[in-house]
Amino acid sequence: MSLSQRHLALILIAPGLMLVAALFLYPLCFSLISAFSGPDGSFTLQWFAKAFELYSTDIVFTVVIVLASCALTALAAIVIAGTLTLGENPYIVGTLKALYRWPLFIPFIVAAQCMRTFLAKNGLMNNTFVSLGLMEPLQAVSFLDWRGIIATFVWKQTPFVALLLAGALASIDRATLEAGRNLGASRMRVLIELALPQVMPTLLVALVLSFVTMLSVLSVPMMVSGSQPTMLTVDMAFRINAYGDYATANALGVITYLISAGAAILYLKRGMSQEAPR
């Protein structure tokens, strides 16, 4: 019985696994082979040399953008989730709760289009500042460069991280937090010293997922910032569409795998340690 049940289970799961194998594992191998083999099929690192020669600025730019976006997303999410959990004014907590989730399922491409108009030189943001007298019209500058990319990423990812974080914060033991408050600790201190350490794993997982997501997004750097330097996703698309140069594009792809590998290892480790007690 148990043997046949195993067979049944494998038969049931096989079609799904085959799709993942055909559309993920096979192309992944394809990209690795293409990145490491020369025109005659022998092993070579020449595409990586070319990738570094042409795009080393963009590699650094990509890493800095994604790290900065993750850091700012984490900060914003901690402030939001902390206020939701420890806030004492019900109106403020209620308003925040109703507001913060809006960008959660908004597609990146829509977020990019929003920011393209909002952050432009004559966008709503600068116009509002000028109307409020915070800024002279001549001081208005366009934010449609690296700052625009970071702003879009943070705008889009903060609700996701804050949602997971607020969920984790809601499930920790209230008594510890109350005890901290009763002993005279400020809410800020309770959040940083008592609550956050307990939800660190959740925050980390949410940030790793955001990290990989930001590395994969093509629409935001293409639409928000048209200028150089740009992100590696745009460079890959450019190598393919302009030159049909799969080798260099795949070398850049392998570099993005390596960038995300550090983050992914953290995530997989955590996934494994959760699986273990089963």
Binding site: I13, L19, F30, Q113, L124, L218, I240, A249
Partner: protein
């Protein structure tokens, strides 16, 4: 003294909240303004003339936008059918049957989401080109289904795991065959979670840009591709209206997700 301090804190909190609301709503408001702006140029801070001319252009039955909307919905429906056909059996196996290397299989479904996808899609496009299916709806559906499979499989597994095993046993004791017990007891009880995963896959497919950009061009134009082309072509009105059309299902889903996904199912996702 404490009273002054506390009201000062409230004022600070309220102004922070207003600033937050501005950052959050401002971009969406700007999008909405562009969609009804017939003329808007510097130095005017608001549109010079308002009107629905571009809405009429977008919603003209013969227009590009309606064709793209149709393509998008058709692809999303096919993706949901395909993903659910794969993930209902897989989810059941993961939740209920003895499966060797279960953790590994769970990870397999996650992998497409855990890798930067552009590098994968350019090679998928190359493979599809070689076998001659690039630029077809079928190719786009395959890519969207592989991308959405992690949600549908994980949520289906969680939904099956949340079904009370005793109810199945009761059905079996009363003489139902395993297949009958599955279709009359287990599947209906897991249905809300599975429908939720279907909605998730539908939205993912509707919003997907990168995969379609590489695999679907030039024949398949979904709404996100239309939005991209309009935005890059400088037509802010059409781009904004397309973006608003894409916004509607996303925001509805955000507002109602908790009704679709019950807490007991949500707690089991990924476990």
């Amino acid at each position: 003294m404490t009273r002054i301090a506390s009201s000062a804190r409230t004022v600070l909190a309220v102004s922070l909240l207003v600033a937050f609301a501005f950052v959050l709503i401002g971009p969406l408001l700007n999008l909405a303004l562009w969609s009804v702006a017939e003329r808007w140029y510097t130095p005017f801070k608001l549109p010079v003339t308002y009107g629905t001319r571009y809405w009429e252009q977008v919603f003209r039955p013969t227009g590009d936008a309606m064709a793209s909307l149709g393509t998008s919905i058709w692809i999303a429906v096919l993706t949901v059918v395909f993903a659910l056909a794969l993930s209902i059996p897989a989810g059941y196996a993961l939740a209920r049957l003895k499966l060797p290397m279960r953790a590994l299989f769970m990870l397999m479904f996650l992998l497409p989401q855990a890798f930067p996808s552009v590098a994968i899609y350019i090679n998928v496009a190359r493979i599809f080109y070689q076998i001659g299916i690039n630029g077809t709806v079928f190719a786009v559906v395959l890519v969207h289904a592989a991308h959405g499979l992690v949600f549908s499989v994980w949520i289906a597994a969680a939904a099956f795991a949340a079904v009370d095993r005793d109810l199945e046993l009761a059905a079996r004791n009363m003489g139902a065959s395993p297949l009958r017990a599955f279709f009359t007891v287990t599947l209906p009880l897991a249905a809300p979670g599975i429908i939720a995963s279907g909605i998730f896959v539908f939205l993912e497919s509707l919003d997907e840009f990168t995969g379609t950009f590489f695999v679907g061009v030039p024949q398949v134009t979904t709404l996100p591709l239309l939005l991209y082309n309009a935005a890059m072509g400088g037509n802010y009105q059409v781009a904004s209206i397309t973006a608003l059309i894409l916004l509607v299902p996303s925001v509805l889903f955000m507002l109602f997700i908790e009704r679709f996904l019950r807490a007991d199912v949500l707690a089991k996702v990924g476990a």
